[in-house]
């Protein structure tokens, strides 16, 4: 029944979007383009440090992720001024098969649990082409068994007259509800936080909401004929339930004591700072280097830096090959300890290896094929992109990511 309502809702939104294309503006309409993007992502992961089972046990996971993106751009004249309107819609689902999540209920189980994450994001904005200013706002939601996230954002981009410099600012707010049961017990009646089966006699957390406030800034600058640089500072503040209620922690009680365990506990506030620096260089006739450095620090004690390079090789005007390499090093959180290493007297504790001392390495390859189309053809496929990434973490976790994107354009004059 619920699926039926979701389907009807999805169709209604799609209908609304397509109707918007048909509305005739009384002002002079110049160009109207709609970009349609079909995306399919597949993610495979394996490891042996699952936080659900206290930092030990399988992390085997497969995610199948189809998505559809629509982006409509319309230029028009209002008096003597030329303006642009943008509307975009992003809808998708991740079907998740997770061996570790299955162990929330049964400590020993061989079957994998199937879960689904559905999401929808809508963004609307306007641009004054004379003043080079864009203002946009958006809303979105994301829904899974163990949470509902509702997000809003507001942003602005200002370019200088020569279009050699661009400044941007975006504010995001997310309101997350971490109670279980939206997909299994009725959307409007989530019951409670879900704890591991053997720990449900105790109320481990008083809060079930999480609020996130993000401020993202950007400065992009053309340095010379062949170089563009950008700086992206970011500050984020989170409050509420920041731990995951079904993450187990096993304590060190001594060799002869009976085994004791608890539910992950983390502070209810977190402040994060991020800084990304990017430099794109057109080296020669067919080679583009895209380099970036990301640094990060937060109040949980995590300090991290990532170095990344993607080299775009234009094999011919229609085909681009892009190998990618990334290295990430992280000093872990003060609250992390491995399986049976936490002291029961500690206030905060986690055995989630995402928060531990780690290094990660990734290698990938993207293939982008631009389809040849007649100039007079208004509706056509533009590009087909495929990407594969291999990812390895120093604690043994490995993953493979596969993506396939079909990009199409529908133009009206």
């Amino acid at each position: 029944m619920r699926k039926k309502y979701l389907l009807i809702g999805g169709l209604a939104i799609f209908q609304l979007f397509t109707q918007a294309q048909e509305i005739k503006d009384t002002r002079i309409q110049k160009v109207k383009k709609t970009e349609i993007e079909l995306v399919y992502n597949q993610y495979f992961q394996d490891g042996n440090n699952s936080a659900v089972t206290g930092g030990t046990g399988t992390e085997k996971l497969t995610v199948y992720g189809p998505a559809l993106k629509l982006k409509q751009k319309k230029n028009y004249k209002k008096g003597k001024k030329v303006k642009q309107r943008n509307l975009s819609l992003n809808i998708g689902a991740d079907v998740i098969s997770s061996a570790s999540t299955d162990k929330i209920d049964a400590v020993v189980s061989s079957a994998s649990l199937l879960d689904t994450r559905g999401y929808l994001n809508v963004e609307y904005g306007g641009t004054s082409l004379e003043k080079n200013i864009s203002i946009y706002g958006g809303m979105g939601f994301s829904l899974e068994s163990d949470y509902l996230s509702v997000g809003t954002k507001l942003g602005a981009i200002k370019k200088n007259k020569e279009e050699s410099q661009s400044l941007s600012a975006e504010f995001q707010f997310f309101n997350d509800d971490m109670r279980w049961g939206r997909l299994s017990k009725g959307f409007f009646n989530p019951k409670t936080l879900i704890y591991p089966a053997e720990l449900r006699g105790t109320q481990w957390n008083e809060k079930y909401k999480r609020y996130s406030y993000n401020l993202k800034l950007g400065w992009t600058q053309i340095i010379n004929k062949r170089n563009i640089a950008a700086v992206f500072p970011e500050i984020a503040y989170q409050a509420g339930l920041l731990s995951t209620p079904f993450h187990r922690v096993y304590f060190n009680d001594g060799a002869d004591a009976p085994e004791t365990l608890g539910v992950e506990q983390l502070p209810d506030q977190r402040l994060k700072f991020g800084l990304a620096l990017k430099l794109n260089t057109f080296v020669g006739g067919n080679l583009i280097l895209k380099n970036s450095i990301n640094s990060y620090k937060d109040s949980f004690g995590i300090l991290a830096i990532a170095f990344e390079n993607e080299t775009a090789i234009k094999v011919n005007p229609n085909f681009t090959l892009s190998p990618n390499v990334r290295y990430y090093i992280q000093n872990g959180s003060d609250y992390f300890k491995a399986y049976k290493e936490h002291d029961p007297s500690e206030e905060y504790f986690t055995s989630d290896y995402d928060l531990s001392d780690i290094q990660t390495y990734s290698l990938g390859l993207a293939l982008k094929y631009k389809l040849k189309n007649s100039k007079n053809k208004k509706n056509h496929f533009k590009t087909i992109t495929s990407r594969y990434t291999y990812y390895k973490r120093s604690d043994g976790l490995t993953s493979h990511v596969l993506s396939l994107i079909f990009n199409m354009e529908v133009a009206k004059k």
């Binding site: 993000n214 993202k216 990060y296 937060d298 995590i302 993506s403």
Partner: protein, 74 residues
Amino acid sequence: MKLLRFGSLFLILLVLLVLQSCTALKPYEKVYVNDPEMQMGGDSSESYNKYVQSIREGGIPAGGSKGSGGCGCN
């Protein structure tokens, strides 16, 4: 730790270098910088990779796609 300090210092130096060396370009000189591959935004497959990284690593990258939403707990 040394690598982290070196990286932070490198970031600051690079920002200063960028500030010092900008030149104004005429429209006909923008053939390379206007190339689609030179733009800062990535495609959907890059966004998905960044989303995965933000879940499997403690640090959420600046300019990344995931600000919140979900536990990323599997």
